[in-house]
Symmetry: none
Subunit: 204 residues, 2 copies
Amino acid sequence: MKDITPQQQKVLDCIQVYINKTGFPPTRANICKELGFKSPNSAETHLRALEKKGFISIESGASRGISIINPEIASEDNEYPIVGLVAAGSPTLASENVEKVLNCPKGFFGSDFDYFLRVRGLSMKDAGIMEDDLIAVKKTQEIRNGDIVIARIEDEVTIKYFQRSAPNIVHLKPANNDFKDIEVNLEETELYIEGKSVGLIREN
Amino acid sequence: MKDITPQQQKVLDCIQVYINKTGFPPTRANICKELGFKSPNSAETHLRALEKKGFISIESGASRGISIINPEIASEDNEYPIVGLVAAGSPTLASENVEKVLNCPKGFFGSDFDYFLRVRGLSMKDAGIMEDDLIAVKKTQEIRNGDIVIARIEDEVTIKYFQRSAPNIVHLKPANNDFKDIEVNLEETELYIEGKSVGLIREN
DNA sequence: TAAATATATAGTATAATTTAAAGAATATGA
DNA sequence: TCATATTCTTTAAATTATACTATATATTTA
């Protein structure tokens, strides 16, 4: 990341202080006033320079659409959306799928993860994964045999053990004798791995 | 702080998710679109209700001037000891029994709790409680039938379902056909309830 | 039953970004 | 040293973004 000039640093600090104080980013006029400019366009120019150098991002056309790019955004708690399994389609984070969010400290599970997924069904009950449990899902394509994956097969989403049986054959194995393995021939059927489970939470 | 309705909670979550995603708050139109309203005014009304109930603050006349009021509960972690089951004796919080502590936000489970207990054995596997899981234990003597309890019988500690079968007869029932009920006659044998399970955590 | 909640249409006024043009000061490289 | 690039700042204005208000209806809750 490139160096910034003293004045650009002043603008960056001004943004951070303003966000800390108000909870939302400043406008150009706010920055202009705060730093004693006579024109919002002075602020605009600095913002563009900071954006170019990678310190902030600006959503074009959006009022107060400034966000600070902060590599160590490691606040203690992070909010993770709880996603419900939908009948069809991937467990996206679109708000209609998000029940609510849950605070969870960094490092709570051994791996980072992206969201909680609400479990439906009992196909993994012998692995201790019960109806209504929350699975912590890490979005990744790096899957090993035996991982518990969230897999999507042609709009059907399921939680199973992953087992690659041949270069183009994958078995999705339940942990419940009442369910059968799902055999996926990758040449015929599209299999998408949404992610893998890195943890589980249950509330009694 | 007053309660909010399910829909208001959705709006609040939508704001939080949007902020997490973009770094700045949503407009009414963003919320409207995200929640599927046809009019931004629906969002406006919910925002005003949330403001009135103290969950957000709105800076009048400021575009994207929404900030979430964080109650101290949301940012406060508590450290809970993780206790291992000892061969004999109760799962006390004496330091020799404490593996480590785990940060957990207030309100993480529906109930308060006092410590995490490391699970040993598979007597409750059909209830989804597996070896090495962490059970969140609330110290209490108020037990109902069907509760998962941490019970101590003459220096032997076990995790089972509680079932009072008669005024002085208690059954501690496993969730695994390989284990038998433990019948406790309270006139002959001392039974001590350490607490009950209010939640579970597992790391894959 | 009254109040609260939820949602819509419609419109106005203000907020805010962006662009163009200009100029001065400073830094950099040949 | 000089030419060029970068930084910094201004005026001015066009355009879009956005909040807010009025009004209405339906449903739910206390």
